[in-house]
């Protein structure tokens, strides 16, 4: 039963890939992708319910392992996959009508989108840290193809930068994994179990200290490259800006989280040996990322790059939340992961709709979206406010929790975080307001004929979910987060 759900979660997103291989049209591929995403989300929710009532599930010597923490990340990523799948319908149909993508490109999109989603979800469902590495690297490769899919010189350049920097970073994480394996050689277990997380976690106090420290540092730097922690974030703005918007949504809202998930697993193992050492490292990288993200958000000319830097900032906030630690800090960080995933996914999908209408990603050529496309303009404005952490949206609540955790830990760090958040707010709000509310500057009529109203569906769902999470945290979500924290303490 549970195993079926686990398999369904990571295989259903392949529906779009299957449709592409069977030779469907753009519309069919889009619908199959969306249906696969929705099915994966349904299976993920059922899996969470099952884990909450029956406890952690483990099979095949830990190669399949789902505890509350992984099911929390599974459901977060599945939400993003479902929304981005819905967004793919309008993207693929519009690009086919506009002749932006050839038939082969449409099919490649379907195939690699499906594999990207499936590999990310699978990487969250295994307890073997070596397999986690394999799946994370594989999802990087699949997503690099998506970044390059539009075939412009700039998108190929972004894909090259992305694949070479990320593969380099992830290879560092592999060295970290090797050291972790080595540190477990003092334990009396069969070699195949030396990377099995639950076994390592149970014996965390007796791992070999020197190599555990190596493992943690290399993992934070390596997976941190994936997460986009400064100063390893340089691939992120290019890749997010050049990828098709549904793929940008997946990169920003799902892929970054899988990297953070791996870091959380490594950090949990080192607690007994190194104490707060891991937290301090995360705080340093976290604050650096918030600062870099906030500074680079000021006067951005390309709105997809603006949102990409906002992702750097938010990953920093999550790292800081984990660094502050305690139930409060980790709770805030996990809640923020969910909120940021929904918010950023909505924003990237909205900017995708803007790109389809205006055929540009430059802020200066877009103005007065609200007059021309009211739904998208509203979502863009409210979504940006949400992502900047204004009430009554979910991100306000989670940022507030993290700031509170900061004041509990050390008041000066709390103040620093508040100041950086204010800077980010000013930098971003100025640009978005000009785009949404300003005078229309683009005189060419938008190619509205090929656009379908289906593009607005994920936007409205996402915004509604953000609002809901700001006003009310469902009891089951609360239990899930508390149990996740328990699983790593």
């Amino acid at each position: 039963m549970t195993l079926t759900l686990v398999i369904l979660v990571c295989c259903l997103p392949l529906a779009g890939a299957l449709a592409s291989i069977l030779g469907a049209q753009a519309r069919g591929i889009g619908i199959a992708t969306a249906a696969g995403g929705a099915g994966a989300l349904a299976a993920a929710i059922a899996l969470v319910a099952h884990i909450l009532s029956h406890g952690t599930y483990q099979a095949a010597v830990g190669f399949v392992y789902v505890d509350p923490l992984s099911s929390f990340f599974v459901v977060t990523v599945a939400i993003v996959v479902a929304l981005a799948g819905l967004g793919s319908i309008s993207y693929l149909c519009a690009e086919e009508a506009h002749r932006g993508l050839s038939r082969v490109q449409v099919r490649l999109y379907g195939i690699f989108f499906g594999f990207f989603a499936a590999l990310m979800l699978a990487s969250l469902e295994t307890g073997n840290l070596g397999l986690v590495w394999v799946l994370v690297e594989a999802s990087t490769l699949a997503s690099a193809v998506l970044v390059a899919i539009e075939g412009r010189a700039t998108s190929l350049e972004a894909a090259w930068k992305y694949i070479i920097i990320s593969s380099f970073g992830v290879t560092i994480a592999l060295v970290g994994t090797l050291f972790l394996y080595y540190s477990a050689s003092v334990l009396d277990i069969v070699p195949d179990q030396r990377l099995t997380w639950p076994i390592l976690f149970a014996n965390a106090a007796s791992l070999q200290p020197a190599s555990v420290k190596f493992a943690l540092l290399l993992a934070i730097i390596g997976y941190g490259t994936k997460v986009g922690l400064a100063p390893m974030h340089t691939w992120l703005p290019d890749a997010h800006a050049e990828a098709p918007s549904p793929a940008s949504a997946m990169l920003s809202a799902a892929l970054l989280n899988t990297g953070m998930y791996a870091i959380i697993r490594f950090q949990a193992l080192t607690g007994p040996q190194l104490g707060r050492y891991g937290s301090v490292v995360l705080l340093v990288f976290g604050f650096a990322s918030i600062a870099i993200g906030a500074l680079f958000m000021v006067r951005r000319r390309n709105f997809k790059r603006l949102f990409a830097y906002s992702s750097v900032e938010h990953m920093g906030i999550i790292a800081v939340g984990l660094g502050f630690g305690g139930v409060l800090g980790v709770y805030g960080a996990l809640l923020h992961t969910l909120n940021h995933a929904i918010g950023k996914c909505t924003l990237f999908l909205a900017s995708g709709e803007v790109v389809l209408r205006y055929r540009t990603t430059l802020v200066s050529e877009v103005g007065g979206i609200l007059g021309r496309a009211p739904v998208i303009g509203t979502v863009m404005l409210l979504g940006s406010l949400a992502i900047l952490g204004s009430p009554p949206f979910g991100l306000f609540l989670s940022e507030f929790t993290i700031v509170r955790a900061g004041f509990v830990r050390q008041a000066s760090l709390g103040f620093l975080l508040l100041a950086l958040l204010a800077l980010a707010f000013i930098g971003c709000a100025h640009t978005v307001a000009a785009m949404v509310l300003g005078k229309p500057r683009n005189e060419t009529p938008p190619a509205a004929a090929s656009l379908r109203s289906v593009g607005a569906v994920p936007l409205v769902i996402g915004l509604a979910a953000l609002l809901l999470l700001g006003l009310w945290i469902p009891g089951d979500l609360n239990t899930l987060i508390l149990k996740s924290i328990e699983a790593i303490r």
């Binding site: 073997n128 070596g130 394999v134 090259w160 694949i163 290879t171 060295v175 080595y182 020197a210």
Partner: protein
């Protein structure tokens, strides 16, 4: 063969791998980059086979064979045919430091690798303890290749060398890695190389250059 001799041989092979990395760092011809990489991979496969002999593990034999076939023969031939010959690459002119400077930096990095992972700080369970700092040196030098070379093909070779360093570390530090993970790592490597080959030829087609230094449209 006695255990001591095997350990000694493994150390020697590791040294050969390090020297081949230096040779690559000191070269300016694309042909040579690929040749040194191929040779290094073959030495690596012999090293893996030696560990397999010592531990009598079938999965290490499989790994040695895969390394020989894919890294030693497949990837070099593919890189040569699809990139170097087709794009008519000869001399690498896009190196940001002089050869001698990068060799000196390489020497410093090697010394650093020795200090950082002193064999005596990692007791027990090692097949050949002096291979660990050597493999770390290869990793650092591979990274150096990627940093000082601006040509995308040279960066690709740099990453492959780095990967060889990781494998050398893997067989000496953790010879009994789960096979499924090893196979997965290998699969990722192959898929990665294929995608990178496609990207590089796509870029060459679009921009008529393979130099990453001329990739600056995304600067803002």
């Amino acid at each position: 063969m006695s255990t001591v001799n095997q350990g000694l041989l493994l150390d020697l092979l590791s040294v050969a791998i390090l020297l081949l990395t230096f040779a690559c760092l000191g070269s300016k011809l694309f042909d040579r980059y690929v040749a040194y990489y191929a040779l290094q991979s073959i030495v690596l496969s012999v090293a893996i086979a030696l560990v397999a002999l010592r531990l009598d593990a079938w999965d290490l034999w499989a790994l040695a064979l895969l390394t020989f076939l894919i890294k030693g023969i497949g990837i070099p031939i593919a890189t040569r045919r699809y990139l170097i010959v087709r794009l008519e690459l000869k001399r690498d002119v896009a190196i940001s430091t002089g050869i001698s400077t990068s060799l000196i930096i390489g020497a410093v990095l090697t010394a650093f690798a020795y200090f950082a992972t002193n064999p005596s700080s990692l007791p027990g369970g090692l097949v050949a303890s002096s291979s660990v700092p050597l493999s770390n040196a290869v990793i650092l030098l591979g990274a150096l290749c990627m940093v000082v070379r601006r040509n995308t093909v040279a960066q690709l070779i740099g990453w492959l060398i780095l990967e060889n360093g990781v494998f050398l570390g893997a067989i000496t530090l953790v010879a009994t890695f789960p096979f499924i993970v090893e196979a997965g790592i290998f699969l990722d490597l192959v898929a990665g190389v294929l995608i990178m080959l496609t990207l590089v030829s796509g870029l060459a087609h679009r921009l008529a250059t393979t130099n990453a230094s001329e990739l600056q449209e995304l600067r803002e």
